[in-house]
Symmetry: D2
Subunit: 271 residues, 4 copies
C-alpha cells in the first residue's frame, strides 16, 4: 500500500505560489508559415500548492510533458500550442489553480548578408511561458534577446566623429492573451532594426564596409535602442492588448562594465 | 564647448524606468557587532529617465560610488548605509525620481562543526538593493542564498527507510523600510535550520555521522524547506513590517533535473 | 582595390597556435544506426598562423562551415564526418598546417524507467573536436558528460548503514584516430553504469524505490566512479588505440563544495 | 572503531592523477610592496592516488587549508606563499607524490583616468596554482585575464578610416619555478598595453575623447593583441626561465560570435 506523503497535512500551513520541476530537457519540432524549427528547450513546470497539502506529485508534472511529446518527430504548430496542451493534460492529472510551463531555448533563423546576399544562420535566445489560471484565458509571456551593437553619439559629437562602438543586447518581452502574441520572427525584426546596425554570422569585406558605414550613420545610446524597441513594438502591435518590456545592454568597449536601459509600454486597451 | 547629447530631446519620447551602469566592481569593508567583513560586490546603479531627455550622464553614476568609497580601507557600518550614501551623493549630481543601487556578493561567516567543534568558514550569496524614491522612505530589498540539503520523506515512508538525499539551495528575500531589515547572520540562521541539515566546509568522521543521522531524522521535501523558511522568518520578524519571499531548490540525486518551491508571506502591518 | 591587411608582416614575428572564430552557432541533423539526432552546436574553428603573416581571413573560416551546412535539413552520418568535411573545405580556402573544429552541444537519447518501463528522454553534454594536421591522420577528441549519483561507502560502513547521497557528474573523454572513436551511445552507457545508479527524467514510485535500493547496494566514492569509467572503457575499447580520460565530480550533500577524481588510461597500442 | 574505507583495496587498481576537493571558499589578506589585497578565492586542492588505495581522506585536504588560514585577519606575503604552506601542511597529514592547490579569484587594483587623473578601481580575474611534486622544486602556474578592446585595422584600411571596435579579453599565463613568477601587477601592465587601449571603470568626457583617439591611432586584430602580450612578456621576463601562454578574444561588434588568437613562448633557458 502506498503512503501518499504529498496528501498529508504540512507542518506549517502556508500556501505556496509555485512548486514543480526545473531544468528538465526536451526536444521539439515546430512549423509555422512553412518554416520548420528544431528546438531543445530547458523546461520548468510549476503549479500552486494549497496551505493544507504537504506536497506536489512531481512525476505527474514530468508526465504531462512526456505524454504530450511522446512522438519525438511530430511537427507542432507552435510553442504556445505545446505549452497549452501540457497544461491541459496536467490539470487532468493534478489539481491546481494556477500552473505555468516555461521554455528557455535558442532560436535559429535565416538571414542574408547586406551586400553579398549570402545566406546566414543567426541565433537568438527565447524564454516563453504559458500560464493557465482558473477562470481566466491562457496568458503567454515571451522574451526574445538578440545581439546587436551601439555607437556612442555623445563621444562622436564631441570628438570630430571619432567614437567607441560595442556589442549590445536587445530584449523585447511581451505579455498578453495567448492568441494576441506575435511571432518570434516579428519580435526579432523589431529588435534588430533598433540597434546601430544588425549583426551577422558572416560578413565578406563589402558587407563589413556597408555595416560599418551604417553604424557610423546611426549612432545610438542604450537609451535610444531601448526606446526604439518600445516604439517599434508599439507601432507594430497597436491593434492588440499587450504589455511590453524592453531592455538594451551595451558591453562598453572603453569600460569593463556594461550600461543598460529598461522601459515598459502598453498598447491601447491593455489595463 | 561640450555638446551635451544627454540633454537633447530623444527621437521617441518614452519614459524609461531604469538606466545606468551594470557589473561595476568595488571593494568594501564593513563591521557590525564586532564582526568585520570584506566584500567584493558587483554593482548596478540605475535611475529613471524622463521622456523628454535623451540620456543619463553615466560617469556621474560611477562617481557617486567611487567618491563614497574613495578610502578603500575605511570601515563601514553596513551595506545598507553605503548604498544610502551613494544614492544621497548621486541625487546631488544627477536628477532622478527613483534610483537604485544593487550589490551582488559572496558573504563569508564563521561556523563550527557539530561534534568536533572545529572552526569553519562558510560562504553564501547575497543580493542587496537600496531604492530611493521621491517622497518615500528608503526601501531595502535583500536576498540571501544558502546551501543545504533535502532527504525525501515520501521515498523513506514507502521504502523501509531507504531514500534519496541531495544538495539543496534555500533563499530568503526580504523587502521593507531600510531600518526594518534584519542582519545577514539572522537570515542565514533561518535558512540553515530549515533544511534536513546544515552543510559545513569541514566534517571529521564523528561530525559526518552526526549530520547524516540528523538528515535521516528530519526528511523534508522542497515544499517543507520553503515553508520552514517562511514560518521561521514570520516568527522571528513578527514585529516588523516586511514582505518576505522564500525559495527551495533541490538538485535531485535520482534525476537530472531539479525540483523547486516558492512562497511569499508578509508580517502584520505590511500592506 | 582591397588592402589585404591579413597578408602584411606582423609587428612581432611570433607563430600563433590557434586563431579563429568562437561561439558560432549552427544546426545539424545526424542519423546513425537509424537514430536521428537534432543538434544545435556552439562552434569554434581555429587554425595556426605562421610568424610572417599578420592575420587570418576570419570570414573564410565561417564560410567553411556555412557552405558545408548550406542545406539545413540534410541528414549527415555523424558529427565527425561533418567536422572532417568542414576542415577539408577550409584547407582549400585558407592555408594552414593544423586546423581544428570544435562543437559543444546537448545530446538527447531515449531511455526507459527501470520498473514501469516508461519511455524517457535524457540529455547529456558533448564536446567533440576534429583536428587536421599536415601529414597526419584526422584525430578526434570527444568528451561526454552525464549526470548520475554517488552514495558514500565510508559513512555507510561507520554509521549503521546511514549515509549521504548526492548528484554527481561523470565524464569520459576519448582521443584517437577518427575511425577508432566509439559512438556517443556507447560512451554514455559506460558512464551510466559507473555510478551508484543511473538517473532518469521520470520515475514513478515503484521506479524510485528500485533506484534507491540500487543506490544503497552500490555505495561509491568519486574515486570509484572515476575508476569504473576507466575500467569499463578499457574493457570495451581494448581493440582500438585510444587515449582515455575520466572525471567524476560529486555535489556533496553535506558540504557546500564538491569532490573530484580524475584519471587517464590508454588501450594497448596507443603511444 | 573506525572502518577506514579509504585504505581498502579498490575494485579496479588504476592510479588516479588528481583526487580532492573543488569549489571550497576562503578569505585571504595579502600585502606585497605596501599594497594590501583582500581576496575571496574559490579553492581546489587535489593529490594523486596510488592504484592500491581506494580513496583520499578528503577532510585532511580541507584542514590543510583551514589550519594555514586559521587567523582570518593575518596578513600574508603572497598567494604563492600561502599555497606552498598549504601543501607543506598537507604532506604531513596525507601521503602524496604530486599535490596542487588552485585559487580562482578577482584581483582589484588602483588605476588613474588618463586626462582627469581621477583614481579608479579596476578588477581582473586570476587563476593561480602551486604544484608540489616529490623531488622537484615548487612549480607555480598563474593566469591573469584583463578586459581591453580591439579596433579592426583591416576594415579601417579599406573603409576610409571607418571601422568596428569592441570589448576584448587578454590573458597571460606563466608557468615556472615559484620564485621566478612575476607579480600580478606586472602581468596586468603587459596585457593592458597590448590592447588598442586600456579600459577604465570611470571616464570623464576629456578622458573618453583621449581613449577614443588612442584606439583609432592603434588599430589591432586579436592576432596583434596576442603577439603583443607574448612579445612584452618575453622582453620583460627575459632573465627568468618561464613558459608563457597568451590569448586574445574579441567580442565582435558586427558579429554574434567572438574571434580568438592563442600563442606560446618560452624565455631562454626554459626547456
Amino acid at each position: 500500500m502506498v503512503i501518499d506523503t504529498q496528501n498529508e497535512r504540512p507542518r506549517h500551513r502556508i500556501q505556496l505560489s509555485k512548486v514543480g520541476v526545473k531544468n528538465l530537457k526536451t526536444f521539439i519540432i515546430t512549423e509555422r508559415s512553412g518554416l520548420r524549427h528544431h528546438i531543445l528547450p530547458t523546461v520548468d513546470i510549476t503549479i500552486d500548492l494549497p496551505a493544507e497539502l504537504k506536497g506536489v506529485h512531481m512525476s505527474r508534472l514530468v508526465e504531462s510533458m512526456t505524454e504530450e511529446l511522446s512522438d519525438q518527430f511530430r511537427v507542432h504548430s507552435s510553442i504556445e500550442q505545446i505549452q497549452m496542451r501540457i497544461l491541459e493534460g496536467l490539470v487532468n492529472k493534478h489539481k491546481f489553480k494556477r500552473g505555468e510551463v516555461k521554455f528557455d531555448f535558442e532560436f535559429g533563423y535565416v538571414s542574408h548578408t547586406p551586400v553579398s546576399k549570402k545566406r546566414t544562420w543567426e541565433v537568438c535566445d527565447v524564454t516563453a511561458t504559458t500560464i493557465m489560471e482558473e477562470g481566466k484565458p491562457f496568458i503567454h509571456d515571451v522574451e526574445v534577446k538578440v545581439i546587436g551593437n551601439t555607437v556612442c553619439p555623445h563621444c562622436m559629437a564631441n570628438n570630430d566623429g571619432l567614437t567607441h562602438i560595442q556589442r549590445a543586447f536587445g530584449k523585447l518581452r511581451i505579455v498578453g492573451e495567448i492568441d494576441k502574441i506575435p511571432t518570434y520572427g516579428s519580435m526579432i525584426e523589431i529588435i534588430e532594426k533598433s540597434f546601430s546596425s544588425k549583426t551577422y554570422s558572416l560578413l565578406k569585406l563589402e558587407d563589413e564596409m556597408h555595416v560599418t558605414k551604417e553604424m557610423h550613420d546611426n549612432p545610438l545610446l542604450v537609451e535610444d535602442v531601448c526606446r526604439n524597441i518600445l516604439q517599434h513594438a508599439k507601432e507594430k502591435y497597436s491593434d492588440r492588448d499587450l504589455e511590453m518590456f524592453a531592455e538594451a545592454r551595451s558591453l562598453e568597449s572603453i569600460h569593463k562594465h556594461d550600461v543598460i536601459a529598461q522601459g515598459r509600454i502598453v498598447t491601447n486597451g491593455y489595463d
